[in-house]
Subunit: 279 residues, 2 copies
């Protein structure tokens, strides 16, 4: 892990909050307005891309290139942009820092007018999350992590420390997943059904918002598949620094997406990994 000073860390986190302020201002006028939804998928699969999504990523990219031109940026719409080596430091080696951005996670919620989408801003040091932030500008809610803890700020402006709740067993757990179609069939669908069948209750439709509610101690388990790096990078530190665990279905890092298992109770998370791994 790259050594940075306390004040550098504070500057980086301030920058993330500033990016969220900017993106919220750009996105909000488009929420619940008649939207021109492009279809970027070739094979007719539904994959909405909104004007707001692109406009927000543009604003974020622009701000980052001013503040941290040496950092890499990875976003849903614009792919990965490498940082400019040596611009700010004394070294000519590119910075290890990479901003991972999804301006609107939960586009399906967004186009249906539901407030359960969010702007994801994560900072990675290689494969290690430095911190993450999720912003919901309509409800004026923001969830983020520092290097040690996770926090929430609501419309009243007060900050609250987030803490996951304990959950002794799957039978007592509330489980959330964005959509049953997320699972590609075969082993994936089987894994999901295994947990779903034993959980106390299941709810669909949550996207990034559900991970933040897990960090806040309201949801016990999230199981998903087919995710991208920009779907999870910002959320891993929010979940883990609130006391939870968030990994792949085999317990490895899920920083690159794929199959994700998040649990507010670390012991239960370990038990669920065994459950998923069993025949």
């Amino acid at each position: 892990v790259t050594k940075i000073s306390r004040s550098e860390f504070v500057d980086l986190l301030d920058c993330a909050h500033d990016l969220a302020d900017r993106s919220g201002q750009v996105i909000l006028p488009h929420f619940r307005k008649a939207l021109q939804v492009d279809n970027k998928a070739e094979a007719g699969k539904f994959d909405p891309v909104t004007i707001a999504d692109r406009a927000a990523e543009r604003v974020i990219l622009k701000a980052l290139k001013v503040s941290y031109p040496e950092h890499a940026i990875e976003g849903e719409e614009f792919g990965t942009q490498m940082g400019q080596p040596g611009k700010k430091g004394s070294t000519d080696i590119a910075s290890p820092f990479r901003w991972v951005i999804d301006p609107i996670d939960g586009t399906r919620s967004f186009i249906m007018g539901l407030p359960t989408w969010g702007t994801l801003i994560g900072l990675m040091d290689g494969d290690i999350p430095v911190f993450g932030l999720m912003d919901q500008p309509y409800t004026q809610e923001r969830f983020w992590s520092t290097d040690k803890a996770s926090f929430f700020r609501g419309p009243d402006g007060r900050e609250k420390r987030l803490k996951t709740r304990s959950c002794a067993s799957l039978a007592e757990a509330t489980l959330s997943t964005t959509h049953p179609d997320l699972f590609a069939g075969g082993a994936e669908a089987k894994g999901f059904q295994k947990l779903r069948a034993k959980a106390k209750t299941t709810r669909y439709g949550g996207d990034c918002y559900a991970y933040c509610l897990l960090a806040a101690g309201h949801i016990d388990i999230i199981i998903e598949a087919g995710l991208k790096a920009y779907d999870v990078a910002a959320l891993i530190p929010i979940v883990e620094r609130a006391g939870g665990a968030m990994t792949s279905w085999t317990g490895t890092s899920c920083a690159h997406g794929g199959r994700v298992l998040a649990c507010g109770d670390r012991n239960l998370h370990a038990a669920l990994l065994l459950e998923l791994g069993s025949k």
Copy 2:
């Protein structure tokens, strides 16, 4: 339909807004707090009853018994209470008016911390909806109907008239349903799958909030089953007076719950009824 004067109508609607103000104040302190969730279902089926739900219904009942002791009241937690005949009028015949109340529609969302639940307050004249109101106190959103139109008020306090959007075909439609397990299997599951397979996109998890977003022109279709009168009574006038249609799967009144089909476009609604009725 019972004749009432304009000022009587205004008083009744004011009363509904007042009930929503009161219930919101009672419910909100319990939202996202550690909840004691009773399980009222006998057979282990998940059916959360929160302290907030009961407290809100108590507050609403109390206020209604003061303002309209002659009206009947039907609620989720307390069953149906008949009005006191002749208390206010000159007749000894019981009033035809019945308040249909669900303090927290979307208890699953509520206990998971999602803001997509709401307080439903409907006034029925026999089987005919007089008006309906849905209140979401956390996001400070309120949707309601008069006798002729539907309205929305958000946190900025401004009122906006609601209008459903047109949708030419199922292939262009966004479809919402609360949970795939809502459908009992057989004909019900088949009916749902028929529409789901042809819709452009499907989203789960919405409860009353989704009906209001349909009224606001953000969702095209909602299909559900196994609903109770208190799940729908307040929503029918909000959907219909915004320009949509909301009936049973055979086109009859859904005021008593059961299988419900709501559509923002009345022509598409008629086409979907044929689709559901076909072999």
